[in-house]
Symmetry: C2
Subunit: 714 residues, 2 copies
């Protein structure tokens, strides 16, 4: 189960498939569009950190100049699936090495037939190198033409981001230099093309679209091979982007040997990350597919970037990063790829100044991380968006203003990284400051309620975004309290293990005795009521909202929010995701099984698991495991597993649900295997679905590789 295969081409689903068949290498990703193009495609390459300004969403990953174009002409007739007759079709993504292969047998309108095979990959061994091969086996005698080019003129759903800087022919390579229109990032593409071992003889120097071309005699049954190499670099990589792009072409020899290096590089990734499931091909495929998509989006050489909610695989959320990274994706990297996890956390560390500026602008202290984050670390959540049914009306988006739990989520991930890796050096140097400064924010953001004699957070949004402007969201209150508690123990630890850094941070963050007393007071008197039966109210007044029998509304094809309207949904108890269960998962050891069970039973039927948040099902699966409901857990797991592969939410064309991909791994490792770590070591408490015969995976604990191999003996 190392492949994802498609055996028919359906234009109605092409955008979904472009997402699925995305190739990448942690430096960039390219959606699975056809080399020759197809009407309605969403052709895109996204390079980490290459943002440009955009209206409404402030900034977005700029769809890079296109490296894919290859035109094949059979006796002058242009191959494309919109014309002629498609006699055979197969597209396959090899997850083991990130190779995308398309094999078609096509007959032209005039009756010229050929088998055409495209292969391409983004090199993991050299992130600046892209490789593409096209082998055509004609069924006729005549001529065969290849036109292989680059294309500056890409856009993000209509918004053009690039200007041509220059183009030239350099030592047989076509060089295209472009610059983002507003942020001024230079991107260089260098291209070499060979057919039959020879450089293509014609160079079409069209501005923005440099193209190599050749026409060769075609002989029936004799394959002709085109190889296209593209080097890519940006001014973020160094001063001489064109030089770096050209240098990437220097090292190539044959497609076969480049592919061999690719296989070796990927083998190392899977040696760290693979999860083996026996007895369940769907689960096995979903796990590898999820890990593949996380790995192609994971920055390896760059700690100035983060992973967007849709990874680098689509236009959705514009490349912006959310808590999805820290809460859903980071655990995967922390356990399997600490070097990647560290890069992602460094991204946040470097944006502490922006987070401080934001807290200050809102009248608070400490560091308030933005709900949506891109290059600068400033808040980039759109403030207003046009109403979907009436563009003269606008809808106010509040998450950027009041969904404050993100700062605690980041602190939590920092802490988890430290606990699992034992990377004290990094924690002392960088991690601790994040935890301390977010704690400082939460202490200043807490509001004293003199009537109740407790601290509160009013007017917030919790993870369940169906309810806006709520008071005392339990998740937010408790995570803030956890952040403050953890900050105090971190400070203790620093005093003992890194006193110099403790002093530096105390001075830099002004952590005087009075402030720390305030923290203790906030911790002590945080408003966190739990009912006698253990039931936790998601936020104040939630239980008074209208109860809706969600099950009675099935089957649905839209979310509860669309069904009831934004305001209408706010008035019900229906959840986008189960806020309280999320908290009980994150702080599992702090709450009893009984509490988890009563909350699971209450909130699960009230959660819009089908069309609510894609973050929901995997956490739901873990919660079900913890309450012993393995079959229910498996249903939730499978729902997460189908999110992208089967496009069950209908929006996978916008890009991979990267948080869900991370959640699938978490549901498997923390749910079915029951992995738990502590300072003393790690334990598993397996509770595999009945039909799973084996579950095996690897991870690192305190720098040492660990191996878990569970057999289901039931």
């Amino acid at each position: 189960m190392w492949t994802i295969t498609e055996t028919t081409f359906d234009p109605a689903h092409q955008n979904h498939r472009e997402t699925i068949f995305t190739t990448g290498n942690g430096y960039l990703s390219t959606r699975g569009a056809f080399e020759e193009g197809y009407p309605g495609e969403q052709r895109a390459t996204f390079v980490h950190g290459v943002f440009d300004d955009a209206p409404i969403v402030f900034t977005e990953l700029a769809n890079a100049p296109d490296w894919l174009p290859v035109q094949v002409l059979l006796d002058g007739e242009r191959f494309n699936l919109a014309d002629g007759r498609l006699e055979a079709y197969e597209r396959q993504l090899d997850l083991s090495c990130g190779l995308l292969t398309r094999r078609v047998r096509w007959s032209s309108p005039q009756g010229r037939r050929a088998e055409i095979v495209f292969e391409r990959f983004a090199s993991l061994a050299n992130p600046h190198l892209l490789a593409l091969r096209c082998v055509v086996t004609p069924d006729f005698d005549g001529s065969l033409s290849f036109q292989a080019g680059l294309n500056l003129f890409m856009d993000n759903e209509g918004l053009a981001h690039w200007r041509l800087v220059d183009q030239a022919l350099k030592n047989g390579a076509a060089l295209l230099r472009a610059r983002t229109r507003r942020t001024g990032i230079e991107l260089a593409l260098a291209m070499r093309c060979q057919a039959g071992g020879e450089d293509l003889p014609e160079f079409w120097d069209v501005r923005g679209c440099p193209t190599f071309a050749v026409t060769l005699p075609a002989r029936r049954g004799q394959p002709i091979e085109l190889v296209k190499w593209v080097g890519i670099a940006t001014s973020r990589d160094g001063a001489d982007a064109p030089g770096l792009a050209l240098a990437a072409l220097q090292e190539v020899d044959s497609f076969a040997s480049a592919l061999e290096r690719q296989r070796q590089a990927w083998a190392q990734e899977w040696a760290r990350c693979d999860v083996v499931v026996e007895g369940d091909e769907i689960a096995q495929q979903a796990l590898r597919f999820s890990l593949y998509h996380l790995l192609i989006a994971a920055p390896r050489q760059d700690d100035r970037v983060n992973i967007g909610a849709k990874s680098l695989s689509g236009f959705g959320y514009r490349g912006h990063s959310f808590w999805d990274t820290e809460t859903f994706m980071l655990p995967v990297f922390i356990f399997t790829s600490p070097h990647i996890a560290r890069n992602l956390l460094n991204y946040r560390y470097q944006r502490l100044a922006a987070a401080r500026a934001r807290a200050l602008a809102h009248g608070f202290e400490g560091a308030q991380f933005p709900w949506e984050s891109a290059d600068s670390g400033e808040e980039v959540t759109p403030t207003w968006v046009p109403h979907f049914s009436d563009p003269t009306r606008l809808v106010r988006i509040w998450t950027g203003d009041i969904e404050i739990h993100i700062s605690a989520d980041i602190a939590y991930a920092v802490h988890l990284y430290w606990k699992v890796t034992g990377d004290d050096d990094w924690f002392i140097e960088r991690g601790a400051e994040i935890i301390l400064d977010t704690a400082k924010f939460f202490a200043s953001r807490a509001e004293w309620n003199p009537e109740r004699q407790c601290y509160e957070y009013r007017d917030v949004i919790g993870p369940d975004e169906y309810h806006e402007h709520v008071d005392n969201n339990f998740f937010t209150n408790r995570m803030a309290q956890w952040n403050l508690q953890t900050a105090l123990s971190v400070l203790d630890w620093l005093h003992r293990h890194a006193p110099h850094q403790a002093s530096r941070l105390i001075e830099r963050l002004d952590l005087n005795a009075e402030r720390l007393e305030k923290w203790k007071d906030v911790i002590q008197r945080m408003f966190l009521p739990i009912g006698d039966d253990g039931l936790i109210e998601q936020f104040e007044g939630y239980f008074q909202r209208r109860d809706v029998n969600l099950a009675a509304l099935e089957p649905r094809s839209v979310s509860a929010q669309v069904l009831f309207g934004i305001e209408g949904c706010n008035e019900t108890q229906v959840l986008k995701q189960a806020d309280v269960l999320m908290l009980l998962y994150l702080l599992r050891s702090e709450y009893s099984d009984a509490i988890l069970r009563v909350n699971y039973d209450y909130y699960t039927p009230r959660t819009d698991l089908t069309y609510g948040s894609s973050l929901g099902p995997s956490i739901q699966a873990i919660a079900a495991c913890e309450t012993g409901k393995i079959e229910e857990a498996y249903q939730h797991f499978i729902q997460a597993a189908r999110a992208d592969l089967h496009d069950v939410r209908g929006n996978a064309g916008d890009g991979i649900h990267a948080a869900s991909a991370g959640g699938i791994w978490q549901a498997t490792v923390f749910g079915f295997a029951g992995l738990k770590v502590s300072d003393e070591g790690w334990t598993v408490s397996p509770r595999l679905p009945a039909h799973w015969k084996r579950l095996a995976f690897r991870f690192y604990y305190r720098g040492e590789p660990q191996c878990v191999d569970l057999r289901n003996e039931r």
Copy 2:
């Protein structure tokens, strides 16, 4: 004075010059960008009626696929003004025939020198034909290459509107078919290129950028000529746009003969429209320049389109039409080119249904025309725009909601067309209905004030947009009253001259006796106070606003609105344009000289004539003429004349101030010549500036050509 000439190239002003040097033929216009491109250019071709959806502004003229690209290579070095050395430069627009010529002497970085002359025009004889010639005279022996292409990948300041439909080589012509992404309008370009009388041998079939290329031997001093013909058509012109585009290429023979036909076609335009001023070259040039820009934007074959506030010459206002057309441009066409005026008025007639729907949606009767109008006739004024200093904040634009005088302005233009042309057939068939239905709107929109016992219009914006949400704007009240008065007399006239149509309209618009009584009552009791001294208060409470000494703020480089802020300006008496003077101009015969004089004296110093509305100065000039202040009139006139040619407002790069262009003609003809028409005929009362030796112009009165030739004997 038939030319506009530029003798140096300054990249800092290139966008302004692109506007100035726009060429067009009433079907499309192309900004004066360089054939080979230049960094920072705003390269654009706009085709009438080819709108596509856009965020915020709803719809905009889509920047059409580019027909200009020509690359010239001297021994392989690409000619462009950003490299090498520019040894001589001249660009000249010949207003007499719409020919744009650029003549450069350039030395390449490697020292290859050549004289290069580009000429181009949009054919007035065949609106689907575009012609371009490039003659290169090398100063060296070697090679010369031409690459002449089309480019699909154009955008509107970043927003891409086009998708490729197809491209092909057809009988030696390259055909490019594109479609707007959202409105689905097809546009076809067909291109033929010849050098030395031969078709260019190479065809570079790059997707979206079909290009012809040739490399020729270059001999020192021997000119080599490239001629590029482009045919253009859209699905708005007929079912077979590609066929129409290709057909346009059929009729071409030589550039010289096409240019001769162009001269003949333009000679006919100038025979109708030219204004001769002797003794003032600046005025002479400005008048011809203004008329040229109106004529290249004026639809001759199409009555489904209107002229935007920036004509077809720039991105400003997105091709949307305002009252600028009816109040400023239409008088020019009504007097010189009634066939064009009729097309423009038909555009409004065909959008009566949309205007009725809009009145209904607002709870009114009759026809309420939109403040900004594009293809559908629905309101396309942006509702909210991002604040210029903080994009997370939005500014509400109210003109689309409450600047209601547009409907009366349209009725006024209809009436003027009828009175001047005597086109009873059109008026009976179409024009009368506009006047009646806008009157119906104004009657229903009027609010009865029981205290005052009069009708009012509250919460409106008058022509002076520095003051929003005002009550009883005198201009609006009086024009509404005029519209109702005129409607009653039109109905009378119809009863006498077209009783059948009178009955039809009475039935269709439900003009029952009760309604007409109401109209009379509204006319009778409209709130229109005039002070004992003849001073008119622009709106209720205007005199209580803060008086500002504008003169004391000179010199400024920003508008009063930017200086004081939107709200701050609202609180002063400073005007964007003189609302009351505009009214006194439109209804001149209804008010005494004394009233005009007292209002001119009061409002002129309070009007932001330098950076307020570009519509202001020309009307100001006319008012000054009417009060006998000829020198002052001339100062206002010159300010209007400099608006585009000298970019005095700094925004001419966004496109021509088309209303100002119309205003310049009106200031000359109605101001300095004092032309007045009535049912009895026409009169002039010349009051030429002292240094003018002669003013001569032509116009049509009741279908007959008239000629005015005034000599200044002072």
